[in-house]
């Protein structure tokens, strides 16, 4: 096994990265889709118990990097990842690492709400069931209820847990997906534009939820909305054309960006 990444917490590193323990560390990551070089030499530190936002114009590689963190890119045959990504100081691209175990520790919420076409209860119970997280039915029920409560959905669906999850509204579906993700008790939650298909009210609820969840999880969110990034995140990373242009505390990025491109983007001059 390679030596783990020494944590060079530089003087100029974001405050949040110095205050909190680092959860995810990436060094010199390149991602290729066949010939296409989607991410170029990316290095970043992502702190625990905080929300980190990836922003940037479409096709800049932010989703690609997000999907590299839980190795979802493995499902794309032409995709190739080089470099090193560590979670809790373990290389996640290590040959000996079980990718299924890894994904159990990293929850993911997708752009479009994608509940299983089963009941609300089964949606949440599926993860704990396949990972053997519940000893019996009562246990499982408790996990489901807790997860739904944490996702702020329980009050709305408690009378119809046996109804299909696909029958909920868009915002409820997305919260159901969040409940499903946290039911397996992950350490990291990746969110790929979780609000892009939702109306403003549902978006506000999800953002509230993200803010609450930040106490217990390392959350990484990809978003197109700069306001959303400003509202929910503590750390912001700006991607452009496969390059990580700038990382910093959210306040700093939105008030005094160092890079010209970041400034142009957040002031709405392109993207």
């Amino acid at each position: 096994m390679d030596a783990m990444i020494k944590t060079p917490v530089a003087e100029n590193a974001p405050r949040i990265a110095r205050e909190k323990p680092l959860k995810i560390k990436a060094r010199n990551v390149d991602v290729y889709y066949g010939e296409k070089h989607a991410i170029k030499d990316l290095s970043i530190d992502i702190p625990d118990s905080a929300v980190s936002a990836f922003i940037g114009p479409s096709g800049c590689g932010k989703s690609t990097f997000l999907r590299s963190i839980n190795r979802m890119n493995d499902t794309i045959p032409s995709c190739r990842v080089t470099g090193r990504i560590e979670i809790d100081n373990r290389d996640i691209y290590d040959k000996n690492l079980d990718v299924v175990q890894l994904r159990a520790r990293i929850g993911m919420v997708f752009q479009k709400p994608n509940p299983f076409p089963k009941s609300i209860y089964e949606n949440v119970a599926y993860g704990p069931k396949i990972h053997g997280l519940a000893r019996n039915k009562t246990d499982l029920e408790e996990v489901v209820v807790t997860s739904l409560k944490k996702a702020g959905l329980f009050e709305e669906v408690k009378d119809r847990l046996d109804h299909p999850g696909t029958g909920l509204s868009g915002g409820q579906q997305q919260r159901l997906c969040i409940a499903r993700a946290i039911a397996v008790n992950p350490q990291v939650i990746l969110m790929d534009e979780p609000c892009s298909a939702l109306d403003p009210i549902a978006t506000a609820r999800i953002e509230e939820l993200i803010d609450e969840l930040r106490q217990n999880f390392c959350i990484v969110i990809v978003t197109h909305s700069m306001q959303q990034a400003a509202r929910v995140s503590q750390l912001t990373a700006f991607f452009h054309l496969g390059n990580l242009v700038e990382v910093g505390d959210t306040d700093d990025i939105f008030t005094s960006p160092k890079d010209k491109r970041t400034q142009d983007y957040i002031t709405g001059r392109f993207g």
Binding site: N114, F116, I130, T166
Partner: protein
């Protein structure tokens, strides 16, 4: 471009014309569509109407209710009540005797033989079965439904000739003229004799043979000699006219008259031919049934289904989800598509060479038929199953992977259940294809004349389409309606299969 658009203001008259043209085009297209559907519907209705009209008579048979004495001496002389003894009893004679008793006027040897020809050769077997089933009948008189022969049956169903009966009011005088006779009535015009008409009078039947001229006696020839030459009173004679000439039908005038007599005596009946569903093939059309072919088809399809479904679905899942994308898998994919287009008889040749000659499996067996059809249907099922798997939104799989399901769990817990309705549809289409397939089964010897109903996968059997093919080739007219009848059964079988598929699919869909 933009310049002109701004410069020249739109002319509304032009636009109106354009809009009208658009509407016309749409109306025209709708008409084409309706016409296409109408043409299809007409063909379909014609097809079904034709098949039904031809096939429905096959589900009925003509019988006569005979009162037969179940003779103790002929059947069970020692009164042993032993089924083995009863089985060997003489059931033929009592049936013949009581049938002959209906026609006391038939005395000559040749005529009596001809008369018995109207009965089916299976009539005595029916009687035997009846007595075996109820030995208490022995020594009593029993009402026995006696099956008519296929030609008689066709006549009774009116498929040989039409019959007109004329009851003239004139009196009739008969004169004998050597072998032949002459007839005279008061006014031949009002009676309207025609050559070929049969005059029944004085217990005989005479066919008009010569020209009918008003003032002359009408020459006639014997069908059955009259018992006397007495003048016949008005109302005591009649004319039977067959619309089809004797030379163009299988039943001659004499036989037809006997059958008419049976109708008049009220002993003939037309009942549902249960034996069509309960017996195997036969050389006698009136005895032939489709039970053997139906069982053969069911057994064959069972083999096909149990081979195809697991293999096809497993192959589809592997190719769609797990197989690395390389030259080898590409080659396999292309060849699966090619296999789906291979003429079916080639699979028959393969089956002949492989299963019969190399593995030495039994000829004509549903097992081999099922194997061959499985080869034929497999590509269809794989292609359908892959399409169904591909149609499941990838977000479902990603969601499962996202909560830490393994690839296989994601597929078996989420993707496969969603693809199942599509897979079922594909499988049923494949099975329907297999049900109607004939050519490859010819090659493995399922084309034989098989009387026994197959009881197992290795018994010799025919299948429905082959039975249809075999029957359609036979010269007896009755087999034509049997052919159409078998086609109806095949179609019903198909509809049942499709209905089952729809029900199953509904079931699976309701789970979500």
């Amino acid at each position: 471009m933009t310049d002109t658009a701004i410069a020249a203001p739109r002319r509304f008259s032009d636009n109106d014309a354009l809009v009208a043209k658009r509407y016309r085009a749409e109306r025209r297209f709708k008409l084409y569509g309706i016409a296409a559907i109408a043409v299809t519907a007409i063909f379909l209705v014609l097809l079904f109407a034709d098949i039904l009209a031809r096939g429905l008579p096959a589900f009925f048979e003509s019988r006569i209710d005979l009162s037969v004495k179940v003779d103790q001496a002929a059947i069970d002389p020692q009164n042993s009540k032993d089924p083995k003894v009863i089985r060997t009893g003489d059931f033929d004679t009592p049936v013949r005797d009581s049938f002959r008793a209906l026609f006391p006027e038939v005395t000559s040897r040749a005529d009596r033989k001809k008369l018995l020809g109207l009965l089916s050769s299976g009539a005595a077997d029916d009687f035997r079965k009846m007595v075996m089933g109820n030995p208490g009948l022995i020594g009593q008189d029993a009402k026995v439904p006696v099956l008519l022969s296929d030609d008689a049956d066709q006549y009774m169903k009116g498929r040989q000739t039409g019959v007109e009966r004329i009851k003239p009011i004139d009196g009739l005088t008969i004169k004998q003229n050597g072998e032949n006779y002459t007839l005279s009535v008061v006014s031949p015009e009002s009676v309207g004799f025609k050559i070929g008409d049969i005059v029944r009078a004085n217990g005989g039947a005479l066919r008009i043979s010569g020209p009918v001229e008003t003032d002359k006696e009408i020459p006639a020839e014997t069908v059955t000699a009259p018992k006397s030459l007495d003048p016949v009173a008005s109302g005591a004679w009649d004319i039977v006219r067959f619309t089809v000439p004797e030379s163009s039908r299988r039943i001659d005038d004499q036989e037809a008259l006997w059958l008419e007599q049976l109708k008049e005596q009220g002993v003939a009946e037309n009942g549902i031919a249960w034996r069509f569903f309960s017996s195997g093939d036969s050389r006698e059309p009136e005895l032939a049934g489709i039970r053997g072919a139906l069982m053969g088809s069911i057994l064959t399809l069972l083999v096909t289904l149990f081979l195809c479904l697991p293999i096809g679905v497993a192959a589809a899942i592997y190719l769609e989800e797990f197989a690395p994308k390389n030259r080898l898998t590409q080659l396999i994919e292309v060849n699966i598509n090619n296999l789906a287009a291979v003429p079916s008889i080639v699979f028959g040749l393969l089956g002949l060479a492989m299963f019969l000659n190399f593995f030495g499996l039994p000829r004509s067996a549903p097992l081999v038929g099922g194997l061959v059809l499985a080869l034929l249907v497999l590509p269809t099922i794989i292609i359908a199953a892959r399409a169904a798997l591909r149609a499941v939104p990838p977000s479902i799989k990603e969601a499962a992977l996202g909560v830490g399901a393994s690839h296989q769990q994601a597929i078996f817990h989420h993707v496969l259940p969603l693809a199942m309705p599509g897979i079922m549809t594909g499988t049923i289409i494949g099975m329907a294809h297999a049900l109607g397939e004939t050519a490859p089964l010819l090659m493995i010897g399922m084309v034989a004349f098989i009387v026994d109903v197959p009881a197992g996968f290795t018994d010799a059997a025919a299948v429905l389409p082959i039975q249809i093919y075999l029957w359609s080739d036979l010269p007896e007219i009755a087999f034509q309606s049997k052919t159409a009848g078998a086609i109806i059964v095949l179609l019903v079988f198909l509809f049942v299969m499709n209905a089952a598929a729809i029900l199953l699919r509904k079931r699976f869909e309701r789970r979500w």
